[in-house]
């Protein structure tokens, strides 16, 4: 995701291409990177890195002993349970809340309404982003002005869940209803019902126009697109539409708040952004940051749904009101209608392409439906352009524009891919169409234009100013395409015997980023124990991806010990250093680099002690196999010996510590080539996906097993985006999905086999050459499946999801 | 083990507790989260567990809970809040009259009992009143000073800031009271 499209940054970025400038850029963004030694390790030199180290919490997970937030229940005998009263109307004002019956109920500890003292009335955004957030402050913890069916209005704490739910039922809310609007185009009308008065928003975003329900407008251009479009080249135009997808985290949003014996306001919460949440709670409740502690146990998946302070204010307010620990666990129904979802979008792509297939211009326009509130609205829309477009960084004229519009529908937010899936569909579907129009092989057509090592990518920075331009230092796209083709059997595809069955293959490329360029920070500390083991304290957040294990591997690689010799403590704002959190595919690259720096800092001290004990100059010494050894004499001393000597030695003593902090302007893209093998029944339109193949260049995979897991999970999510209806809404914007059985999450039987291929490149700016992997495979199945259907039966589906009915309709259209 | 129900008027609220006949009042208080009263000897010899029963200071570790049934009990939890201390508590804080603090809840309960019946005690009277409460850290000096200080505060209570603090400062921290470095005697030097 890219928050570098910040409102603060005015530069529309019409970057000229003239050579002197290009030279300056080359200096600003050199191809050569002065890389720390030992960062580039040949496979046989790697001890921990790129090994399939066992995920350190797996044994707890498979024995059911791992603790997620709700599992801490037992630790608080006086725990109270929260439940929330939510708006039943799409738009209006709360005129009265009758809490008397609820308050009279046995076991009810507190009932909070927007008027209660414990409920802050400050405006805020739930978006877990840098500060000030590039999202408008347009939310309240509890709302008097409700804007969608699901908006929180009141909250209850009771001594057990049943009582809390009963109390919620017993609360009477009266409304004065306002007109509402659920369609983004309609909402954009000047006479449409207006969701926000001007005084209802602070920290407004560039291009906002609340009279037209527009929370932001963004635009950027390279070269002169209009000129190119008016030129001789063919102009192609296509329109695409994407679904409202649910994160469907298996663990629901859950947070437990209490005040401990040291007066620390503690939140045990299922979050991707502990440090942002700490800051946001402090501002919202006007409590000093230093008095709040946010800690994250095991988390049952985030996918962006927890890159936000979604539920934490409710249990904290209730805990302050009741003076008891309070647990709030959202229901699955709330997950579907009152938490977060992927922005549904309409995206238009236009290109100017010459007959022999040179792309002269690309123009993308996106209309994003941000729902009732604006968290992540502008930045997600920005990524619709800034993630996929750089794939074709050689194209001279590029324009991207987006409007982000409010409707009286459930709130959207960050979701894995963060705009890139919508943009990738619009770009990769479009280019496939163009290629076929021109009678070119779609893959060859891509090859001619896609990004290569050495390119200076100005598109990523198109809206962020030249500072956000980047030099491409690693790119495995060609090999991804090669190996993907091979794996899917592109060149020798067998058609089914039955005439009405047609088999086709579709392909799509994708690029993501690795962290938010110039807007990330990670830090880590290491302490050595006398037995040669280490404590690693790192702010980075493991939400199930295995990040903690990757940290262990990176640290172990540097310190020359086994992963088991390191105890990792992560994401606890009282104990671990700062981190922006788990989003934007930043964890391995940013937090991992901070870990590497901390380990190297400690290693310096270790080698120092080694040289004392071995009586050899530090320059001769290295760590490995749990020892410090001399490359000259071959003498060695174990880390344990060093640990004991450093802690208890006679001469002098030292606790060997290391610290590291990392921030960068870089955000190198990982790449993916997606292949889909489909058979379509031209009579019914029914189709069967035989196989998904996705080849990914994530630089050096710190843990290939975990990297594959990321790819397969992301591809599954991407597949859902292509074939599932997502969260459908009725006319009032009410979610029609209330539980898993109503939501089209592909089951094990409905999910085609996924073959993941790791293409190793070396990214000099990443820890041991690593880039990111978590998001890029989320972007590719919709275009690749659309392309495959086109390949099989010649019809194009542009509106997700792809269904038999739609294919059948198109076939009929064509037939008739 | 035979169990029974015990009803206490605890810090102003009527509460009922499960208890076994063998339990002391201290056992029951601590088992139910009132851990302010400390267990120091189980023989009534150290005073760490001092609470008020019907207004009288008693060592709860040797008070059979059965005997306290129906009684009104005051514990340290019933006095002040951290940001709104009882004047006696505030005086202990401001006089640094505590170190490890294990004896302090008992010490304070004993002191409030004293000041209830004798609002203006002499130093000797304070020492007499506290003579059943042991302290290993302070040598009693600052504790005795704190109780005498508290007597003055209670006397002029209306004049004292709402937090019972000696200065207007909201949390009454000496640092914030602008005492000149090194020459601060708001920790109650010689009275």
């Amino acid at each position: 995701m890219s928050e570098d499209d910040e409102p603060a940054k005015p530069d529309g970025g019409t970057a000229s291409q003239s050579d002197p400038v290009e030279d300056e850029r080359s200096e600003e963004h050199p191809l050569e990177w002065d890389e720390p030694e030992n960062n580039d390790k040949a496979p046989d030199e790697r001890d921990s890195v790129s090994h399939r180290a066992e995920k350190y919490d797996d044994r707890k997970l498979v024995t059911g002993q791992a603790k997620y937030t709700a599992d801490y229940e037992e630790r608080y005998p006086d725990l109270a349970y929260a439940a929330v009263v939510r708006s039943e109307i799409p738009h209006g004002r709360v005129t009265d809340i009758d809490t008397s019956t609820a308050e009279a109920m046995d076991g009810v500890e507190a009932v909070l309404t927007p008027e209660s003292d414990a409920v802050p009335d400050a405006k805020y955004t739930s978006a877990g982003q840098s500060y000030p957030e590039p999202s408008p402050w347009d939310m309240h913890v509890l709302n008097e002005h409700v804007r969608y069916i699901g908006d929180p209005v009141a909250a209850v704490a009771a001594e057990d869940r049943a009582t809390a739910n009963a109390a919620v039922e017993a609360i009477e809310v009266s409304y004065e209803e306002d007109d509402y609007v659920t369609d983004p185009e309609a909402a954009f009308d000047s006479d449409a019902p207006q969701l926000f008065e001007d005084d209802e928003v602070e920290n407004e975003i560039v291009g906002h126009d609340y009279n037209r329900n527009r929370m932001a407008h963004i635009e950027g251009e390279l070269g002169d697109v209009d000129a190119a479009l008016d030129g001789d080249a063919h102009v192609h135009e296509t329109e695409w539409e994407t679904i409202r997808q649910s994160h469907a985290n298996v663990e629901k949003h859950t947070a437990l708040a209490y005040t401990n014996e040291d007066d620390r306001h503690v939140l045990i919460t299922s979050t991707q952004v502990p440090n942002h949440t700490r800051r946001q709670l402090a501002h919202l409740f006007d409590i000093p940051i230093r008095d709040i502690r946010v800690t994250k146990p095991r988390v049952g998946g985030g996918f962006g749904g927890k890159q936000a302070m979604v539920v934490e204010p409710i249990p904290l307010a209730l805990s302050l009101a009741t003076d008891r620990p309070v647990l709030y666990e959202a229901s699955r129904q709330e997950e579907f209608y009152a938490m977060r979802s992927r922005h549904p979008m309409k995206v238009r792509t236009r290109t100017a392409v010459t007959d022999d297939g040179d792309i002269e211009a690309i123009d993308i326009y996106a209309l994003s439906n941000t729902g009732a509130y604006g968290s992540h609205g502008m930045t997600v829309a920005g990524n619709v352009g800034s993630k996929p477009l750089p794939l074709y960084s050689k194209v001279p004229n590029v324009h991207f524009e987006a409007d982000i519009v409010h409707t009286n529908t459930p709130q959207t937010g960050a979701m894995r891919g963060y705009g890139a899936p919508q943009g990738t569909l619009a770009l990769e579907g479009h280019l496939d169409e163009v290629a076929r129009d021109l009678g070119l092989d779609p893959i060859e057509f891509r090859r001619r234009h896609h990004m290569e090592v050495g390119d200076l990518d100005e598109i990523a920075g198109m809206m962020g100013g030249e500072g956000a331009n980047r030099r491409i230092r690693s790119c495995g796209l060609s090999e991804c395409i090669e190996r993907g083709k091979e794996a899917i059997g592109y060149d020798d595809l067998e058609q089914p015997d039955a005439d009405h069955l047609h088999r086709g293959i579709g392909m799509a490329l994708s690029a993501q980023g690795t962290g938010v360029a110039g807007d990330e920070l990670g830090a880590a500390q290491i302490m050595m124990n006398e037995d040669g083991s280490f404590h690693l304290q790192v702010g980075g957040v493991d939400i199930g991806t295995g990040a903690d294990t990757a940290f262990l591997q990176i640290a172990a690689e540097v310190l020359g010990c086994d992963e088991d010799d390191i105890i990792v403590k992560s994401s606890d704002t009282d104990v671990t250093p700062f981190d922006y959190g788990a989003y934007a595919s930043s964890t391995t690259y940013i937090s991992g680099m901070a870990v590497k720096k901390a380990a190297e800092d400690a290693k310096e001290r270790i080698l120092d002690w080694g040289s004392k004990l071995l009586d050899e100059p530090v320059e001769n010494l290295e760590t490995g196999d749990g020892t410090v050894y001399s490359e000259n004499s071959g003498d060695s001393v174990t880390l344990e010996e060093i640990g004991y000597e450093a802690a208890y030695g006679d001469d002098e003593r030292e606790h060997i510590l290391g610290k590291g902090t990392h921030c960068t302007e870089e955000s190198p893209p990982p790449f993916a080539a997606q292949f889909v093998d489909v058979t379509v029944d031209e009579e019914t339109g029914e189709f069967e996906v035989h196989k998904l193949v996705v080849a990914v260049d994530c630089g050096v995979a710190i843990n290939p097993g975990m990297a594959e897991g990321q790819i397969e999970g992301a591809n599954h999510m991407s597949y859902e985006m292509a074939v599932s209806e997502g969260i459908t809404l009725d006319d009032e914007g009410r979610a029609e999905v209330s539980d898993f059985d109503e939501y089209g999450l592909p089951s094990a039987t409905e999910t085609p086999p996924i073959e993941s291929i790791l293409v190793e490149t070396h990214e000099p700016t990443g820890p041991f050459g690593a880039k990111s992997v978590a998001e890029v495979p989320t972007n590719t199945v919709p275009p690749a499946l659309s392309n495959a259907v086109r390949d099989a039966v010649g019809v194009r589906i542009r509106e997700m999801p792809i269904t038999a009915e739609k294919i059948r309709a198109k076939l009929d259209e064509r037939g008739g | 083990m035979s169990h029974m129900q015990i009803e206490l008027e605890l810090n102003g609220e009527t509460e009922t507790f499960e208890a076994s006949k063998a339990d002391s009042l201290l056992d029951v208080l601590r088992a139910n989260g009132y851990t302010g009263a400390k267990r120091g000897c189980d023989t009534g010899a150290c005073g760490f567990c001092t609470v008020h029963v019907d207004g009288e200071p008693v060592t709860s570790c040797v008070t059979p809970v059965a005997k306290a049934d129906g009684a009104s009990v005051e514990t340290i939890e019933g006095l002040g809040e951290q940001d709104d201390l009882h004047p006696v508590q505030q005086a202990f804080v401001d006089n640094t009259a505590l170190q490890c603090g294990f004896c302090i809840p008992g010490m304070i309960m004993r002191s409030t009992a004293l000041l209830d019946e004798n609002p203006d005690p002499t130093e000797q009277e304070v020492r007499e009143a506290l003579s059943d409460n042991l302290c290993r850290c302070t040598g009693y000096k600052k504790i005795v000073e704190a109780v005498l200080d508290a007597a003055d505060r209670l006397e002029g209570e209306r004049a004292v800031a709402t937090d019972g603090g000696p200065q207007d400062d909201a949390d009454g921290r000496m640092l914030d009271s602008g005492c000149p470095p090194g020459r601060c005697d708001c920790s109650g030097g010689e009275p």
Partner: protein, 192 residues
């Protein structure tokens, strides 16, 4: 505490071999009761019976505990994921999930493992399709089911003794060696 919304009842259960009487509020489902008694391996991912995270064995049958009233289970024998193996001595299915990286956030894993064990009891040599069928009502959001399916097939092999598992559970024969294996008991750290 039990959901005393209404009356609460005592029910007799044998949980992982231990006979016990538990108090259950009438509003409680079996998952809640089990969780309250420390069997947190039973997860609740939905509002009842749709995600499979709460699967346990009730008298040998796989049931979603969240969709079951405690009374229904009165007197029955319950096995949760905790009964299968310990962290140092994993059940082959658990071991296969670990070795195949079939676990990410892990929230759905206990239910999935219970289902897999049930499958392999009845069908020691399932096809990939049969595995997918068996897991079709277990919701997983992280893995795309790819590695869980591979893990179950691998486990089937192990249980049929086709692949020998190292004493420590080890890696699947296919997997590359563990970095730790070369080092001594504490990464070469101890001087014995």
């Amino acid at each position: 505490m039990p959901n005393t919304g209404g009356i609460s009842v005592d029910i007799e259960l044998t949980i992982n071999g231990e006979r016990t009487t538990v108090e259950a509020g009438s509003a409680d489902d079996l998952a809640t009761v089990l969780r309250q008694h420390g069997y947190i391996g039973v997860k609740c991912g939905c509002d009842g019976g749709t995600c499979g995270a709460s699967k346990v064995f009730v008298d040998g049958e796989v049931r979603m505990a969240c969709g079951m009233a405690p009374r229904e289970a009165d007197g029955s024998e319950i096995r949760t994921v905790a009964a299968l193996g310990t962290q140092d001595d994993l059940h082959p299915v658990q071991q296969a999930f670990v070795d195949n990286f079939a676990v990410q956030c892990g929230f759905c894993i206990p239910g999935m493992i219970i289902q897999a064990v049930a499958l392999l009891d009845s069908n020691p040599d399932p096809s990939e399709r049969e595995v997918r069928e068996a897991l079709s009502d277990n919701v997983c959001r992280c893995t795309g089911y790819q590695k869980p399916v591979e893990a179950v097939l691998d486990a089937a092999g192990r249980m049929r003794g086709e692949q020998s598992v190292a004493a420590d559970g080890g890696q699947p024969a296919s997997g590359p060696p563990q970095p730790g294996e070369s080092a001594g008991c504490c990464g070469g750290g101890c001087d014995e």
